[in-house]
Amino acid sequence: MVFLKRNLPLLICFVGGLFFALTFYSPTKFSSYSRDMGSNAFNIISAIGTFFGILYVIVYNVDRVRKGDKGFGFSLILIVALFVTFVSALFSHGEYLTLEGQLSGIGWIFMYMYVPLQATMFSLLGFFIASAAYRAFRIKNYLSLILFLTATIVILGRIPFVNDLYKLVAGQHAIPLSEYVSWILQNPSMIAQRAIQIGITLGMVVVSIKTILGIDKSWLGKE
């Protein structure tokens, strides 16, 4: 049992990790074929996993409806929506448009239900950015003052009207406000981003090597 639960996955991880790492250093056709096969194998596993995931959602929500749990109405909506979408996709042969160029059933659901729902959720981000910015820009010390001033320049510099106003005040020959914004984004901001990126990349290499060598077994849980 321990062999199946721990040793075998570790062995597969070591052999698979080493093999795919070696294919990176080998330009042969076999290497690229192996990488493609690995990717395809993953897609197959992922598809099977998604099937079981959806099955889990159906069983869980049917159970809630059957028991009449609090909020079971939402589960009912989910089951009906899942069924209607599935049937529409079957009748539409998975195509977005019919042969006449009209929206198919699944196309209609996608265009008039899925896209607006997605857009609604995404548009919440606008409000959350405002509330998060309000908290982030509170001036508590000199560092937050620097952040506030820099952010103000960047935000205002991105607005065409403010740029025009700046030209009127500072004169036509003055350096445009957008130039300051570009400088901030391409220099201090970029330096910080690159530093974090270098750290991230090194971290990735270390985690990968640790996982392949079996030093880090946390993905299997602890013994």
């Binding site: 250093y25 330009p27 950015i129 090194l202 971290g203 030093i215 849980g221």
Partner: protein
């Protein structure tokens, strides 16, 4: 006539070589640079004498100079006094190449395309990886013998307090692994692997305090892995009877369907602690702001650069980039894992030193001799090929 052709051949030094480090689908035709402007055409023929490709260009076109070939200096001699034209071939084998100058045949040469087993272009990369390997083994050995100093990470030290608060309030701890599925994107999956390690430690603490744990998933594969990790963490804490299979639950693979479900959970359950460890996209701020509105303590860690500012703004503690990778080791305090944090630090020092040395030396050389070839060679060392 034959003597004239041979003279041209000698003057041109026209020859065909295998394209280095490829899968046997390219050859390079190389010959001396001509000072007098002219029009060149290079034709390639297979074993049956059929033309399979041609390249035409003006001798003034610098794209076909050897110096413009995108290969490192240790693989290909980028002598700027030569032309180098890469020609595609269907597979490995022998080919004949003809060079015409102003529509007159001046040289022919035979060449062979060979499939190379080792990609020596990536030698610089291999050396760095081998360096990492040596350091990992060395520090794992050192860590067994003496305790390594690891600086404190406020976000992880606050974990105890955050879980304690949830226990006192009788509210759940929510742990989210981000939006990636294991293996979906090799690079982003690494943060997921790191997140599995942190989940193990969080679940262990949560089990010790007998606090409810919620781990939502957008991937069924992640869910199966996390179920196993959580179960083992509860067993390790001596509370296997408290483990609930439903603490890990599948939500939706769709980004905003996932978000809407999580917002619902936040508003109904009002969790006391929310932990975000992994790769996030636009949902990061929606999730974090909703959790902030219900008064949850929030600890985030991500290697998604574009989401870091959102977590900074909305969360109480944020682990930046590589701190996420160190978190599992930091919490577990296992010597073999702690050693990797040290390796990480030493390599960062090495990289910083390399950047400084290269920047200063390249700048000095560029000022003293702008034509110096050594600069291009030095840059090759740092480039990915």
């Amino acid at each position: 006539m034959t003597a004239l052709f041979l003279l041209c051949l000698l003057q041109n030094d026209f020859h065909v070589i295998d394209y280095p480090d490829d899968d046997g689908t390219k050859v390079i035709a190389v010959w001396n640079v001509n000072e007098i402007p002219c029009q060149y055409e290079v034709r390639i023929f297979n074993g049956q004498g059929e033309s399979i490709g041609k390249v035409s260009f003006s001798s003034t076109n610098k794209e076909y100079l050897a110096s413009a070939v995108k290969l490192p200096f240790w693989v290909f001699d980028k002598n700027s006094n030569k032309y180098a034209v890469a020609l595609k071939v269907p597979n490995q084998g022998k080919y004949k190449v003809e060079l015409t100058k102003n529509n007159k045949l001046v040289a022919t040469a035979d060449g062979e395309a060979v499939e190379n087993f080792f990609d020596s272009k990536k030698l610089n990369n291999l050396i760095v990886v081998l360096g990492f390997l040596v350091l990992i083994i060395y520090f794992a050995w050192i860590a067994k013998r003496k305790e390594l100093f690891i600086r404190k990470l406020a976000g992880l030290d606050a974990l105890e307090e955050a879980i304690g608060r949830a226990t006192e309030m009788g509210k759940p701890v929510v742990y989210q692994l981000g939006m990636m599925e294991i293996g979906e994107d090799p690079l982003a999956s690494i943060s997921l692997v790191a997140s599995f390690g942190i989940l193990g430690e969080v679940a262990h603490k949560v089990a010790s305090y007998e606090t409810p744990l919620l781990v939502p998933h957008r991937s069924p594969l992640n869910m199966v892995i996390c179920q196993e990790i959580t179960k083992e963490a509860y067993t390790r804490a001596g509370k296997p009877h408290l483990y609930k299979e439903s603490s890990n639950f599948f939500v939706s693979p769709d980004q905003f369907a996932y978000v809407s479900k999580m917002e619902g959970i936040y508003m109904r359950e009002k969790p006391a602690t929310c932990i975000y460890m992994g790769y996030f996209f636009a949902e990061s701020l929606v999730l974090a702001e909703t959790a902030a509105s219900v008064g949850a303590i929030q600890i985030a860690g991500t290697d998604a650069l574009h989401q870091l500012p959102f977590f900074f703004a909305a969360c109480d503690y944020t682990l930046i980039g590589e701190e996420l990778y160190a978190a599992g080791a930091y919490l577990s305090r296992e010597y073999s894992l702690l050693s990797s944090i040290k390796i990480h630090d030493y390599f960062r020092i090495l990289v910083t030193a390399a950047i400084l040395v290269a920047t200063i030396s390249i700048s000095i050389i560029a000022v003293s001799d702008p034509q110096a070839a050594v600069n291009a060679k030095m840059l090759d060392v740092f480039k990915p090929f």
